[in-house]
């Protein structure tokens, strides 16, 4: 079972399960969050005093650019005050009664997280958010269900995205989720409908009756009294005489409703402009921006629950597929392998090689490339080609059979120069790779040989 133990070398506490080494970092205050340490944690337990602090923490965690950190399971302690309003943002509420359940949940989330590819693809902010949201839903096997939230601009929040985007950006949460639905990553089931301000899209509206002439809500409503005997009809105030009702037309006292008089309807009078009317105009005042909306102008949002489709699950696991950009072979002047072979053959067939010709190859360690998404691999391939071509002459030929192998022919270079060029290419490519994924031993191997029947390594 879970036991809360003090980490010997840290002020933070961790939870352990029997002898299993599950590292659950306990955070009691906002300042305790060390984002770097999240890499090694299996989960977090938020145990702040207030829900506000807990909310701040979950926002910091979920909005981390590193998805490994952003998707980490986060639990909240049942001791946090006003927990109900934010519990949907957490993977569970930690208490003595829920320890076992949370452990199972933690294991399940970890297992699903392990299935996913965390490469940073070439995604814009919204695509990145969508990717993270899909991964979150997949790892939690969760449907994005709307939760009523008094502080959300549209009155509803969603798990994960609601933690990342601020309450006033609730519309963007819906936009992202609707895109996921349009793209077929999720299916949507309508749950609720909400009206929003025309100006700021806020959903916190105050509906009230207003004067159709001046828009004021300072209205006086009075019953109309119809005196049967003389057919006089006017607001009740006209009939009032001390405690009695007296007809202003015939001076007779109105004693009995239904016998002497009735009240066929009522009228509103605006206290600002004195306009009298029966049909008050209902307007919606936006509490956020103060814009007074006519009902016909209000926006309408459908609040739904979004469930991952099988396609969405694939995207969660392997990343969003981005439309391939046009091949830039022209820009980097690569040729196909067949062309390169043709050049090589022609060069070898020349009877006299006045100047030396070199054949080079660059091999990237296959394991390195496997860390990257296919699209990212293509980008890296392009960058490596750019690096190599930068040090080649105009007549030299470059080809890249695949993302880990680059071949080139260099004409008219002395052995010293070609050695220097090979060294520079190796250094630059190694730097490119280590900048991207961190330190790696021998990320690229450059081999340059003289183009003749013999082998002359540089």
């Amino acid at each position: 079972m879970f036991e809360l133990i003090q980490h010997p070398n840290s002020s933070s506490k961790t939870l352990s399960f029997d002898n299993e080494s599950l590292n659950v970092v306990v955070i009691n205050r906002v300042g305790e969050l060390d984002v770097d340490s999240l890499q090694n944690a299996d989960a977090l337990l938020i145990q702040t005093t207030t829900s506000h602090d807990a909310n701040e923490l979950i926002r910091s965690i979920r909005s981390n650019r590193n998805r490994l950190k952003a998707l980490i399971p986060v639990f909240i302690s049942s001791t946090v005050s006003n927990l109900q309003s934010i519990r949907y943002q957490f993977d569970g509420v930690f208490s003595d009664d829920t320890k076992e359940i949370l452990l199972q949940r933690l294991k399940a989330i970890k297992s699903r997280l392990a299935e996913m590819n965390y490469e940073i693809h070439q995604l814009d902010y919204h695509q990145s958010l969508l990717q993270s949201a899909l991964q979150f839903a997949y790892s939690r096997e969760q449907v994005f269900e709307p939760v009523r939230n008094r502080f959300s601009k549209i009155g509803f929040s969603y798990p994960f995205l609601g933690a990342i985007l601020k309450e006033e950006e609730a519309n963007r949460v819906l936009e992202i989720l609707n895109i996921s639905c349009t793209e077929g990553y999720t299916t949507k089931k309508a749950i609720e409908k909400t009206h929003t301000c025309k100006k700021c899209s806020g959903g916190y509206l105050n509906y009230r009756e207003c004067c159709p002439k001046c828009g004021s809500s300072d209205l006086k409503t009075e019953d109309l009294i119809h005196h049967f005997l003389c057919a006089h009809i006017a607001p009740e105030q006209d009939y009032k005489k001390e405690d009695t009702l007296e007809c202003p037309k015939c001076d007779k006292e109105l004693r009995h409703i239904g016998i002497d008089y009735d009240k066929p309807s009522s009228m509103h009078t605006c206290n600002d402009c004195s306009h009298s009317f029966q049909q008050a105009e209902v307007k919606a005042l936006c509490i956020d921006c103060g814009h007074d909306n006519e009902l016909s102008q209000l926006g309408s949002l459908e609040i739904g629950a979004y469930e991952l489709t099988p396609h969405g699950e694939q995207i969660a696991k392997f990343g969003l597929h981005i439309q391939k950009t046009e091949t830039t072979s022209k820009e980097i002047h690569t040729v196909s392998v067949q062309i390169l072979e043709l050049f090589k053959k022609q060069e070898l067939s020349r009877e006299q090689l006045e100047k030396q010709c070199w054949e080079g190859s660059v091999r990237i360690h296959p394991e390195i490339m496997s860390h990257f998404h296919i699209e990212q691999q293509e980008i890296i391939q392009k960058e490596i080609c750019t690096i190599i071509s930068k040090y080649l002459g105009k007549a030299d030929v470059l080809s890249s059979p695949n993302t880990t192998w680059y071949r080139f022919l260099v004409y008219d270079k002395s052995p010293e120069n070609i050695e220097k060029t090979g060294s520079i290419i190796q250094n630059n490519i190694s730097k490119l790779i280590t900048d991207g994924i961190g330190e790696y031993e021998h990320p690229a191997e450059v081999l340059i040989t003289k183009l003749d029947n013999g082998v002359d390594h540089v």
Partner: protein, 436 residues
């Protein structure tokens, strides 16, 4: 020569002499011919003489009216009138005078009227739409509109009417003739005169009694009914008299109330409103029974004080009501006496009397039609009605007289108007109790 061409029944009266003719046709000569031919044509002649000064007076008043550009409140009370409302707003949108507010009061409609009215108000085609969930009667609906009207003049309309482009302008301008004019009646004509024989006959009747008849009474200062379909009022006077009282016949009632306050009533023949008349005699009979009962209820009972000397006695009011009661009620009774007289005293001459009587009335109708065509602005259309004129003798002389007599009988002896479903019983019960 004439003796050879004239039918035998005409020749008979040449033979028996003029004295016998007068003795037999005293009713026609004394009341009908004098009132509807002689007086009409005398006044037509006078109006022709003063036509230039009348035109100048109108132009002067028109200039003053447009210079002031007063807000006019158009009020339309009604029940289940939703189907007419959009057409009505379109008709009003075409008016030459546009500084008006349109107030429509829905008196407890049980059809789509509230929905239509509210939508038109939302679209800005109606300035104020007031819905009474409980029906209170036309008078209360008109009073409610009056309560919220802001205009310097009130124009009361029926929802099923349409108007000539200058109708609103023309119905208000007469207020600039004379400060003492308290109300102006518009000219109401039949729009659906081609629908049936019933509507064609009513079209002729309206031309005779409304278009020409009211020109005459207005000229004589005894005009006593501003039609509910189209009339204009000064709101301060309406406030003073407490607006409309319980109907049916509230338009005639309010006109008398205004007269009794010392104001003049003017008829404007060129302020033209078209309305749909009942196309079936059964519906027409119901309508006329209701209208005719109101003569007894209001002219004979409620406003009987105008016939007797008192501090505010006014001769023109006396004559206005007396003419109305005399020509409708008293002559109706006299007609019965006349019939008895003829039947008993001239039994052997009936074969000459009946066709001659019919001939006299047909000729009189054609002569009357002449005065109509002198005044009308729709001469071409109204000429089409000439073929129906021979039938007017039966229509007015027999049909309308029978309906009228029945209505008087029911109202005089049984106060039948208080049971009319046109008005809600809660109001009628109270009105009957207090003799209103």
């Amino acid at each position: 020569m004439f003796e050879q061409l004239a039918p035998e029944y005409v020749e008979y009266w040449f033979v028996v002499g003029f004295n016998k003719f007068l003795r037999v046709f005293w009713y026609f000569c004394l009341f009908e011919f004098t009132r509807y031919i002689i007086i009409d044509y005398i006044i037509v002649f006078f109006k022709w003489l003063t036509r230039k000064s009348d035109d100048e007076q109108f132009e002067q008043a028109r200039r003053a009216f447009f210079l002031e550009n007063p807000l006019v409140s158009i009020i339309i009370p009604g029940k289940n009138e939703g189907a007419h409302l959009f057409k009505l707003t379109k008709s009003l949108a075409e008016q030459t005078y546009q500084n008006f507010e349109l107030i429509i009061v829905d008196d407890g409609s049980d059809d789509e009227t509230p929905i239509i009215g509210k939508n038109l108000e939302r679209l800005g085609l109606i300035d104020m739409f007031i819905r009474n969930e409980i029906r209170g009667g036309k008078a209360s609906a008109a009073n409610l509109a009056l309560r919220y009207a802001k205009g310097k003049y009130i124009v009361h309309l029926d929802a099923d009417c349409s108007f000539d482009r200058d109708a609103i302008e023309r119905v208000v301008i007469p207020f600039y003739y004379d400060e003492k004019i308290g109300a102006v009646g518009g000219n109401v004509k039949v729009r659906n005169y081609n629908d049936s024989l019933c509507t064609s006959l009513q079209a002729i009747e309206y031309l005779k009694t409304v278009s020409v008849g009211r020109i005459i009474t207005s000229y004589l200062g005894i005009y006593k009914i501003v039609s509910g379909a189209f009339g204009a009022f000064k709101p301060e006077i309406l406030d003073r008299i407490g607006g409309w009282d319980i109907g049916p016949g509230l338009d005639g009632d309010i006109t008398v109330k205004i007269r009794k306050c010392g104001y003049k009533i003017h008829f404007e023949p060129k302020a033209i409103c078209l309305t749909n008349a009942p196309s079936k005699f059964k519906v027409l009979t119901k309508q006329r029974l209701r209208w005719d009962k109101s003569i007894i209820r209001f002219r004979v009972r409620k406003h009987r004080d105008v016939y007797f000397p008192h501090a505010n006695f006014n001769w023109s009011n006396f004559f206005a009501l007396f003419e109305n009661v005399f020509y409708n009620v008293i002559l109706d009774l006299m007609w019965i006496l006349y019939m008895i007289d003829i039947l008993f005293n001239y039994t052997s001459s009936l074969q000459y009397i009946i066709p001659m009587n019919f001939t006299l009335y047909v000729v009189m109708s054609y002569v009357q039609m002449g005065s109509i065509l002198l005044f009308t602005e729709r001469r071409k259309e109204e000429m089409k009605l000439i073929k129906f004129i021979p039938l007017m003798t039966i229509y007015t002389g027999i049909y309308l007289r029978l309906v009228r007599t029945t209505a008087y009988y029911k109202e005089f002896f049984f106060k039948h108007s208080y049971e009319d479903v046109w008005n809600p019983s809660k109001s009628s019960t109270m009105a009957k109790r207090y003799g209103l």
